[in-house]
């Protein structure tokens, strides 16, 4: 039995919210304190890789639409590559700030995949609206890891990244399979 899309999106939102809390916590305590325990250093990369496995599973079930299948494959691949880079950073295998370009590229590609695979206009339904909103958000926030690669010491890039993940969670939690865009306030939708 395959879950509805909204169920999968809410689960993804919960994972994104946890990601966001972890990133905000790291921002508050600083990397020195955060990485004092190894499991915490590996938590974020591991979650990204587990998420990519989840996205591959969704890809398998996305046979109803070629566009959805391709989009989920791209997200799964982007998450896998970004997770691998984060894991190598956590293990100390790589250390140059330029590696942050990989998550930046992954976010950019994910955003483009969101925009391309949503064929309906913004106001068609809440799902369409959120796909457009998330897609553009990911394209814009790819600037944060890009900024981290160029200016690794600046707090604004890490803070922006953390808050973006929380915003992504909020948008995913707002998803419904069939609903007007702003609920009982109407506007758009079937």
């Amino acid at each position: 039995m395959i879950p509805h899309a909204e169920n999968a999106h809410w689960l993804a939102a919960a994972v994104a919210l946890f990601f966001g809390l972890i990133l905000i916590a790291e921002l508050i305590v600083g990397p020195e304190v955060f990485h004092r325990r190894k499991w915490r250093a590996y938590l974020f990369p591991s979650l990204v890789i587990v998420s990519s496995v989840g996205l591959w599973l969704i890809t398998i079930f996305s046979t109803f639409s070629t566009m959805h299948l391709l989009a989920h494959s791209i997200w799964a691949l982007a998450a896998l590559v970004a997770g691998a880079v984060e894991l190598a950073l956590a293990r100390g295998k790589i250390g140059r700030p330029a590696w942050s370009l990989v998550p930046a590229f992954a976010l950019l590609v994910s955003g483009i995949a969101f925009l391309v695979h949503e064929q309906n206009p913004w106001l068609y339904s809440r799902s369409a609206f959120l796909h457009h909103a998330i897609g553009w958000m990911l394209v814009v926030v790819a600037l944060f890891p890009l900024g981290r690669a160029v200016q690794p010491g600046r707090l604004v890039w890490r803070a922006g990244y953390a808050l973006t993940v929380v915003l992504l969670a909020v948008l995913l939690f707002a998803d419904r399979d069939a609903a007007p865009i702003f609920g009982r306030f109407g506007l758009g939708g079937p």
Partner: protein, 102 residues
């Protein structure tokens, strides 16, 4: 100028760092509870998002019971509060003690 006087500035900086840390511990401890409160407020504002409370006229699957959005928010808050935050606060304290011992 003696070397003791010359090294006093970094020591002051360290003390300022220690004084700044209490709000950090508080902020980390508040993240989880605030998330839980957010989930509960959402559940009160939109009770129809919780199928246990509102399931009349709807055909529900197992996933509808497993993934109820406001409850997932509460769950995330609980996991963070009990699994992540205590260790971070302990480590903040450990770093604080290490710095003050220097």
């Amino acid at each position: 100028m003696s070397s003791e006087i010359a090294t006093s500035i970094p020591s002051d900086r360290r003390r300022q760092g220690v004084e700044r840390r209490p709000w950090r511990a508080l902020a980390v401890q508040l993240l989880g509870p605030l998330t839980i409160v957010g989930g509960l407020v959402w559940a009160v504002a939109q009770p129809y998002r919780i199928v246990i409370l509102d399931h009349e006229g709807r055909s529900l699957s197992l996933y509808d019971y497993l993934f109820q959005a406001p409850l997932l928010v509460v769950l995330v808050g609980l996991v963070f509060t009990f699994l992540v935050a205590p260790g971070l606060v302990d480590d903040l304290e450990a770093v604080k003690q290490r710095d003050s011992a220097r």
